[in-house]
């Protein structure tokens, strides 16, 4: 399999990249990690006129916690950087749990967090994680920067809220109130499989009390499923098995899975319910301790 012809530029600045996108009038495509784009080029599912490779723009490969506790992930931060980060392991459990489950270890060396969020694959891990965490994206276009809240970002399968001439340059996860807890579970038939169902849970907690709760799902709908509203039932409560059961059932009901060769819609709801419960039960304070 071979891509069709395209023009290629590898600008050195974000501004130059934006200018190329702008000139492309929608026929230009950003190449970051390329782990979804290049296969699509080879399968000829995508045939952009112009590829804008942002890998040579310096200073985008970071992830860092700011003094206020917010986490900032640059456009060229690879999945692997998050997987092997001691700081992430310590301070951001939802991302730490999801990172090793993204695709496979080799894809993780190349693929980017921000690129995956932008790809808006209904089965993508990071869009779900970002929604659960209540994150936002910083995007840059010809008129400068703006932010897009994750809840407004994923519009449909492979469709996001970016204009054709904008680049998502950073993902931001707000500082937790209290302690960040959470997890990520994914049912896949083998490493690198598309998810049958994935669940991202992000909690801010004070002891056993939930201060903020976010849940989002992948693989169980035409787009990433935002179940933050259902998760919010946890806020202000202590984590107990009974409230967990209620929330898990509500989240499962929020899923919109289709019956396919990975399972019936009922089965996928069952997985969602089970995974929500498993992650939440593991956060009950005495279990964490």
């Amino acid at each position: 399999m071979y891509p069709s012809r395209f023009k290629y530029e590898s600008p050195k600045t974000i501004e130059a990249a934006v200018a190329l996108l702008d000139a492309g009038k929608g026929d230009a495509k950003i190449l970051a990690g390329g782990q979804s784009l290049v296969p699509m080029l080879k399968l000829r599912f995508a045939f952009p006129d112009q590829i804008v490779d942002i890998n040579n723009i310096p200073g985008l490969d970071y992830h860092r916690f700011d003094a206020d506790g917010s986490l900032h992930i640059g456009a060229l931060c690879r999945h692997e950087d998050l997987e092997h980060s001691a700081e992430i392991a310590q301070r951001q459990p939802t991302i730490a749990a999801a990172a090793p489950l993204v695709a496979d270890p080799i894809v993780r060396t190349r693929g980017t967090f921000v690129g995956s969020v932008c790809h808006a694959d209904p089965q993508g891990d990071w869009a779900a994680t970002m929604i659960a965490l209540g994150g936002h994206l910083v995007v840059q276009g010809p008129k400068g920067k703006r932010t897009i809240d994750m809840k407004d970002f994923v519009l449909g399968p492979y469709a996001n809220a970016l204009n054709y001439n904008e680049i998502a340059i950073e993902a931001v996860i707000p500082a937790p109130k209290g302690v960040a807890r959470g997890g990520y579970l994914k049912l896949e038939r083998r490493v690198g499989d598309f998810a049958t169902a994935s669940v991202a849970v992000a909690l801010d907690m004070d002891g056993n009390r939930v201060l903020r709760a976010g849940i989002a799902l992948a693989g169980v709908g035409g787009k990433t499923i935002d179940a933050n509203e259902e998760a919010s039932a946890l806020v202000g409560h202590d984590l107990t098995e009974s409230i967990i059961d209620t929330v898990a059932a509500a989240v499962a009901a929020k899923a919109e899975p289709r019956t396919d060769h990975r399972g019936s819609s009922d089965y996928k709801r069952q997985i969602v319910k089970t995974f929500v419960k498993r992650i939440l039960v593991a956060q009950i304070a005495e279990k964490v301790a």
């Binding site: 399999m1 071979y2 049912l187 490493v191 069952q270």
Partner: protein
């Protein structure tokens, strides 16, 4: 003093592999690695639909592209009588479609260009106008009275049936069922799958107009058969065809057939007078080349209360896709499923088998098995499992009661095969001990109380490996023998060539070990060559675990012929008569004085420098080996699983494999074969299946959707060995390559079904994906057939 056979790398030595020296350096030489001067590149345009009449093909835009040298259509092939080719089973298969396309992925056009990128671009410029026809995607649709006929190209073809075929004693079997205390019945499906070596198929055809010689590099497990096929199909003179199978990146049966791409590349080279390389992409490989399985079974077993099996009925329906390329049962006796139940002493059996054409990929290759042996043994062990459960009898005990006993050999099976050796009960005992069988029932009971689901599965079987003999087995009339040619140089080093072709089995290492065993020449002094039809003797190739049983035997026999000549030379050198000469490994000596001797190396030197009067110089010989029977290895596999009751995900807790493949030439390599085979068994049980939607779209068209297990999912395997030498093989070896793939799947499925037996579940068809296991667990009902592809919404 005799040589230490292990030290010289003889029989039983876990000799490190010779071929690894190039593979670990990235210096293997696979077809795609070969570059010839002026070489062009071919890409195939495939049908996007499963069934359609071709109304027109417009290739003009493709021809107009810079760098395009040739665009071939079915019409152009037909003009040269190459639009169709024969299959293994006397059917025909389209090379490039002329009238209709009959499956998604069928070859429609080919573009030959300066590089593969351009060839691909040009394929996208070809416009084909299809008149869509209703697709038939399973045998039920194919059998319907008003079904559209897929093979309307074949004169005399009635409907979509490929064959009806039966074997066994029907009357006697019916009587056994009348006399039975209990009849155990099962219905199941062995899903379609694909062998899927990592390397796809490919070829380079290099036709030299000046000499008239065609050199053909090809990913073939059977290069000599390819030469024969090219001679017969393309009508090129056989002496002008040189077929070379270089290193092969895995075969598993996928690289036995002759594929359209090969034939097209040959014609393309003849027309362009340039070397033409065709390398299939993974989608092409998965959707168009030989699949495995896709068989439905109705099985019945007549049982006596005490556990004795009185008779077996099997009724199978197989889905062969658009062109029938399976083995023709009248020509290839193990071609259908009647090798089943060979390890059990069963008085009578009857089988009825029907095959249908469908609008799916053609073939029906033997995926790591001898044609339909995998299905036979899977059905056998699933039927045995169900029967034991129906009787309320222990799984191991039920098998023990019905096994052919050690002193009952030779044994004629209910379907007419002759098995010759085995220690079935011993293998069973070794496995039971290793897995802790006797404690399991208690363990399972306690686990259930804690809400955990444990299961144990057994699979035991003997299978026929190593076709021929030539009386009963042939391919397109060519008898199933194999060959070896051994040439000992004057310094006592040697070159060995065989008609087989290694694809990872390690022939370059093990064949030398057989020669070392026979002649005492250290294995490292022997180079092994295969795969070049200009230099290797004619052989039928490597598949169906036949290399060691047939080609390996030929190696022994060639070496023995060489030894016989060396003995005469030794008598000459030692100045005694031949009758006074004794042999020990590597050396002849005088019977009356063992100090007086000559080594095989000294004999070799003398063969070129000091041969007896009247003797031809040189020390070499060739053997063509026609085995007196198949070899019958035995496998006893035990699998212990745990199922997550909330998700249906199952994990293998322990897997014990006891294999008796007779004498092991290289234990390390044998164990490698078994572990690889078990992994494919695990894969099929769990995820590796090929399915189609109702339009005939193949759902496993790439590795995103066609799933193969990684190192992470694949369980560890514990291997045990029992040795019952094959009575007719020169060194007592039996085939082994496919045993684990054949016997393995039932062990996994039996274990999962066992874990759910208390819920009333008797069967879950493969693949045992978590959702299917969960469905069985929660409904208490069997799960049958293929997973649904997608819902209506």
């Amino acid at each position: 003093m005799s040589l230490d056979e292990i030290k010289i790398g003889g029989l039983g030595a876990s000799r490190r592999r010779v071929e690894d020296n190039r593979f670990i350096r990235g210096k293997g030489n696979y077809v795609d690695d070969i570059v010839l001067p002026g070489m062009l590149h071919m890409e195939i345009l495939r049908s996007p639909v499963a069934h359609a009449r071709i109304k027109s093909i417009d290739t003009s835009a493709a021809w107009d592209m810079p760098g395009v040298r040739l665009v071939l259509t079915g019409e152009m092939m037909a003009a040269r009588n190459l639009a169709w080719m024969p299959t293994l089973s006397y059917d025909t298969a389209a090379v490039l479609a002329t009238d209709k396309v009959r499956f998604q992925g069928q070859e429609v056009c080919a573009v030959i260009a300066d590089d593969p990128y351009i060839a691909k671009d040009a394929c996208a410029k070809i416009v084909v106008d299809y008149e869509i026809l209703p697709p038939i995607v399973n045998p039920v649709q194919a059998a319907a009275e008003d079904a559209i006929q897929i093979r309307d190209d074949k004169a005399g073809q009635v409907g979509n049936k490929v064959f009806d075929w039966e074997i066994g004693d029907k009357a006697r079997t019916d009587k056994a069922f009348e006399d039975a205390d209990l009849v155990s019945k099962v219905e199941m499906h062995y899903p379609r799958t694909h062998p899927s070596p990592i390397e796809c198929c490919g070829s380079i055809a290099d036709f030299d107009r000046a000499t008239g010689k065609l050199t053909f590099y090809v990913t073939s497990q059977a290069p000599h058969i390819v030469r024969a096929a090219v001679a017969l199909v393309a009508e090129l003179p056989e002496q002008q065809i040189r077929v070379v199978s270089p290193d092969i990146g895995g075969g598993f049966g996928n690289k036995v057939p002759v594929y359209p791409g090969y034939v097209i590349s040959i014609l393309a080279s003849i027309l362009t007078e340039k070397p033409v390389k065709w390398i299939e992409d993974k989608t092409g490989n998965l959707i168009s080349t030989g699949f495995g399985r896709d068989v439905y079974l109705k099985g019945e077993m007549a049982l006596r209360k005490d556990g004795k099996i009185l008779g077996v009925r099997m009724n199978t329906i197989s889905d062969h896709g658009a062109f029938f390329a399976d083995a023709q049962p009248s020509k290839f006796k193990i071609g259908l499923m009647h090798s089943a139940f060979a390890c059990y002493d069963i008085p009578t059996a009857h089988m009825f088998a029907t095959g249908y054409y469908t609008n799916k990929a053609p073939g029906g290759v033997a995926y790591r098995c001898s044609f339909r042996v995998t299905e036979a043994m899977f059905f056998q062990e699933r039927m045995v499992h169900a029967a034991a459960d129906d009787l309320g009898m222990d799984q191991a005990e039920f098998r023990r009661v019905n096994f052919v006993k050690d002193d009952d050999f030779p044994h004629r099976t209910a379907f007419g095969f002759l098995t010759d050796s085995g220690q079935y009960e011993k293998c069973l005992n070794v496995g039971m001990e290793a897995i802790g069988y006797k404690d399991f029932a208690k363990e399972q009971e306690e686990a259930r109380k804690r809400g955990k689901l444990l299961g144990i599965g057994i699979s035991t079987m003997t299978e026929p490996l190593g076709a021929g003999n030539s009386r009963e087995y042939d391919i397109l009339g060519i008898k199933m023998f194999d060959s070896a040619e051994l040439r000992v140089h004057m310094t006592g080093k040697a070159i060995l060539r065989t008609g087989a072709k290694t694809q990872g089995q390690g022939h370059e290492t093990t064949w030398a070990q057989i020669v070392a065993h026979e002649l005492g020449i250290p294995a490292e002094d022997i180079v092994v060559e295969e795969g070049d039809t200009d230099t290797a003797p004619f052989g039928m190739g490597t598949y169906a675990s036949r290399s060691t049983p047939v080609a390996g035997a030929a190696v022994s026999m060639a070496a023995r012929k060489v030894r016989a000549k060396a003995r005469k030379i030794a008598a000459h050198l030692l100045e005694v008569s031949e009758e006074d000469i004794e042999w020990e490994l590597g050396r002849f000596y005088v019977r009356s004085n063992s100090d007086r001797g000559v080594t095989i190396q000294e004999c070799a030197m003398a063969a070129y420098s000091n041969m007896p009067d009247g003797m031809e110089p040189g020390l070499e010989n060739t053997a063509y080996y026609d085995p007196p029977n198949l070899t019958w290895p035995f496998a006893a596999y035990f699998c212990k699983v745990e199922i997550d009751p909330e998700t249906g995900v199952w994990d293998v807790l322990q897997f014990v494999a006891v294999d008796d493949c007779g004498v092991r030439i290289n234990p390390m390599i044998v164990e490698g074969q078994i572990m690889g085979g078990l992994t494919e068994a695990y894969a099929m049980a769990n995820m590796q299946y090929q399915t189609y939607d109702e339009e005939g779209n193949c759902i496993g068209a790439n590795y995103m959707d066609f799933l193969l297990p990684t190192a992470w999912e694949t369980p560890g395997f514990e291997l045990y060995e029992v040795v019952t030498p094959c009575p007719h093989h020169p060194i007592g070896a039996k085939g082994v390559g496919e045993c684990a793939t054949v016997a393995g799947p039932a062990a996994f499925v039996n274990a999962v079904v066992n874990a759910l037996s208390h819920k009333g579940v008797r069967n879950i068809d493969m693949p045992l994906m978590p959702n299917r296991v969960y469905e069985a667990l929660t409904t208490g009902k069997d799960v049958y057939g293929m997973p649904p592809v997608r819902s209506g919404n």
